[in-house]
Symmetry: C2
Subunit: 352 residues, 2 copies
């Protein structure tokens, strides 16, 4: 009569007339329980809609979960990956008390072998989940194929590889991002204007650039706007090469009134435009809230930066694995970031 209602495993054990150790074995699918007892306990679990108390579980369990992060290192050239790293570290701080360790493995964007080396180090360790930036598509696919075979869940950050069994992709919707750039580039156009797309990277055959450029051009097709769209593919990323290349283009073409740079190297184009003594400066659009770009945005040389909240990408990629590994909850296959428009006027409050 004075029996106080118990909770959790104790109540299940009481109802099933077994010890809580037996309930625990059923919950964790361990051996040492007869089929009959197991069935009886599972039925009570379902009736009670038993939800484990995560606080107690973490406190009692000695098990740790290891997450590996494989992303480009922050370089002098670009600090883009600083923000995802901060998001990753923020997530780690939040979930550390749940027994999660995050280990960082950096590679160089200029060296596919560094990716392979770090990927192999990850495979040599005991790892429960992986966050990776698939900057080198072939190498990343080889790596993720091994992960799939070993049953290790992985999350793509900032770029996707379609057709992979990733747990999740967390990054920008690239086609639509380029489409928006198309719209923004129209604000300073005249009847005789030309537009210029600038791609600056050592390797330009990736899925990423193609999506962005397709989106940009599709805006003009959809709206039946007939402006000529020039294109500059620049594989030497030093400023002198960029400057020469652009100089030749601008010399050969008057009326370039809008320039769209398909990645974060828009600061090089801004620098070029600033060094050019021209009465009319074209509208300039590029990507990413990195320090160099912020400087030219503040001075007005860059008109729009399109940004995809890289810090939140880092945060969410870790949290996706937490959700999968700790909460045992489903994770969205794709989480597209918002397409943020950053201008001189709102940049002070932008949260990258």
């Amino acid at each position: 009569m004075k029996k106080k209602e118990l909770q959790g495993v104790k109540e299940i054990a009481r109802r099933a007339n077994v010890a809580i150790a037996t309930v625990d074995r059923v919950i964790h699918n361990r051996t040492g329980v007869s089929a009959k007892t197991r069935e009886k306990i599972n039925k009570i679990i379902a009736e009670l809609n038993y939800q484990p108390n995560l606080l107690a579980r973490r406190l009692a369990s000695g098990k740790t979960i290891s997450i590996a992060v494989l992303i480009p290192s922050v370089t002098e050239e670009t600090d883009f990956w600083e923000a995802p790293l901060q998001g990753i570290q923020q997530a780690e701080a939040e979930i550390r008390s749940y027994g999660i360790n995050v280990n960082l493995f950096f590679f160089e964007l200029s060296d596919p072998n560094s990716f392979i080396t770090q990927a192999n180090r990850i495979l040599d360790s005991t790892v429960d989940g992986i966050v990776l930036a698939p900057s080198f598509v072939d190498e990343a696919q080889e790596f993720t194929t091994v992960c799939q075979r070993n049953g290790i869940p992985f999350v793509f950050i900032d770029a996707d590889i379609p057709g992979q069994q990733s747990l999740s992709y967390i990054g920008p919707p690239l086609f639509q991002s380029g489409y928006l750039a198309g719209k923004l580039s129209t604000y300073k156009l005249h009847e005789t204007s030309k537009l210029l797309i600038v791609n600056i990277a050592t390797s330009l055959d990736s899925f990423t650039y193609k999506q962005i450029e397709d989106g940009f051009k599709t805006y003009f097709t959809d709206h039946e706007l007939k402006y000529p769209i020039l294109r500059a593919d620049i594989r030497q990323t030093d400023f002198a090469s960029i400057s020469n290349h652009l100089q030749q283009l601008f010399d050969a073409n008057t009326d370039i009134d809008a320039v769209f740079v398909s990645n974060s190297r828009v600061f090089s184009v801004a620098r070029f435009l600033d060094s050019r003594q021209s009465s009319q400066k074209p509208l300039l659009i590029g990507y990413d809230f990195v320090n160099e770009n912020i400087h030219f945005l503040a001075s007005g040389t860059i008109d729009f930066l399109i940004c995809h909240q890289p810090k939140d990408q880092g945060y969410r990629s870790i949290m996706a694995l937490y959700q999968h590994l700790v909460l045992l909850a489903p994770v969205a296959k794709e989480y597209y970031m918002p397409i943020d428009i950053v201008t001189q006027e709102n940049q002070a409050f932008y949260r990258n």
Copy 2:
């Protein structure tokens, strides 16, 4: 020799040569400890930089923390407050296991008495912290004065009242928001263009509208742009009144090429512009990602919506109190939201 290193209160007790119950009394500043013993224990706490294990603390403590939320109800007229409510509920779900209860108290934006009634109900309950939207400035100030006297921390959401001892303000930087609107409104201007600011609300003397309008006008002053800026203050919020008012204005003025609406009722202006058979539609800017506005954004009548992530505002306001009440950590006095520019092209990925 085989003594395993202990952690937390056990290690402190070992070093101080007291029982853990005594350490507990010191940690919680309870009586029953001599000054000498208390000082010795506090010194060890500082040496070890003791951080309580929150999981264990919540598991062991029977105490609950009660947070009251005082915000406008979601109405047929505007669903703006739906998003903050979702953010609040998300935060609650995340921190419920830490012993936090969130209780919702809604008031009507058309009725200051409803605010007073709900505020008094909150004061009659046992409450540890409050999130409130200070829609009615005088009433809100009275309420927060009582909270201060009773030592109850409160967080302002979406609007601030300067000079109050709030724990935090979480909302948009309004002046800068209006300033950005000024910039955006220039994209379709010609030499003879006029601009129009539209304020639609029953009460227009609040701090909020003044900041926005000041920001808008300051953009033109700063850039020495001499366009005439008309203004419409509309206190009857039904569509017929708005329509009549605007019709008269447009009849009396040709060349209104940009319209800036200072709140979420921009859908009424959009509807008016759509009903007007005019060959040239002015650029239209307003606030908030509410359903009616999204509809006109998608169709192209509205060119820009300026948004301040109201869902995240709700989430962060609860988390600010959690940080203060549970983590005992400092909270930023002001957390300004990003100023988001939402267009037809990026609206599908906007996370309100």
